[in-house]
């Protein structure tokens, strides 16, 4: 079923997913961005997960559940990293719509995201601003 963006209202939950930060998933991310601060991608074990990996994997659920169409532009991103997360952790990721408006040829949507670890601790919060072809 395709998403009717005009019907989405602020406060509405868009996505609720579980993300497992297994070594393979984190390695794939580290290798893609060549994050030297994480050490070699081939040696990702049980150390800390790069914060942006948490953000990227949380946003993956938004992309999927919101059925973001081709041509969508990522205009801005706010993130707050609230706790180090080890590789191997399981995150509960949730996204809600904050704003939804149309200006000209674009629909502007602001999506709030949050990730909690297995203890319920909030480890990341953020806000994504995207422009979807109207």
């Amino acid at each position: 079923m395709s998403v009717n963006y005009a019907e989405l209202t602020p406060g509405q939950e868009i996505s609720s997913r579980t993300v497992v930060l297994d070594a393979a998933t984190v390695s794939r991310y580290v290798e893609a961005v060549e994050d030297s601060s994480a050490g070699p991608a081939s040696e990702i074990g049980s150390g800390p997960t790069p914060p942006m990996a948490i953000a990227a994997l949380t946003l993956r659920g938004v992309l999927t559940d919101l059925e973001i169409p081709g041509g969508t532009v990522h205009a801005g991103q706010e993130l707050e990293f609230k706790g180090a997360v080890s590789v191997g952790e399981t995150l509960a990721c949730r996204a809600t719509l904050a704003q939804n408006s149309v200006r000209g040829d674009w629909r502007f949507m602001v999506v709030r995201v949050q990730a909690k670890d297995s203890t319920g601790r909030v480890v990341m919060e953020g806000k994504s601003t995207i422009m979807v072809p109207a």
Binding site: R28, V33, S36, V73, E80, K82
Partner: protein, 146 residues
């Protein structure tokens, strides 16, 4: 406990060690696979050619990762547990572009046993054009005295 960066005596106006990357279509494809973001503007040359960009572009978050890498190298655990980013994606980064992430300490405020460091961050392309601008804030817990 203060991090190594805090113990170095940071000052307003100082710059962080930069991070440089070369963006290639291969890397964009790898990021699409890692992130699940297969927006055709990133991975489909035919689609991208008809877009406002004229060709494929890198994911904003791929480019932004260089900022977080820079902050992690400077502040380590403090960045992971008490870091904030506010970014605007201003210009597309194309395959073949090289980027450099840099940051300058704008403000340091000490309060309640912690040091909050505000840093203006920017990612520039080899042309000098700003691809991403914004602010990063990291809170460092200072060692208690006595």
């Amino acid at each position: 406990m203060a991090t190594g960066a805090a113990e170095l005596g940071m000052r307003e106006g100082e710059t962080l060690p930069t991070v440089e990357k070369l963006i290639t279509q291969e890397r964009i494809q790898s990021y699409a696979e890692a992130s699940g973001d297969y927006n055709p503007v990133h991975v489909d040359a035919t689609f991208a050619a008809s877009s406002q960009f004229g060709r494929t572009i890198a994911h904003g978050m791929l480019v932004a990762a260089s900022i977080s890498e820079m902050m992690t190298m400077a502040f380590d655990e403090d960045w992971r547990s008490a870091g904030r980013l506010k970014l605007r994606f201003r210009a597309p980064v194309y395959p073949g572009d090289s980027i450099i992430a840099s940051g300058e300490i704008e403000r340091i405020v000490e309060r309640d046993g912690a040091r909050q460091v505000s840093i203006s961050v920017v990612v520039r392309k080899q042309t000098g054009e700003e691809a991403i601008t914004g602010e990063a804030v990291v809170t460092l817990q200072l060692a208690s005295s006595g």
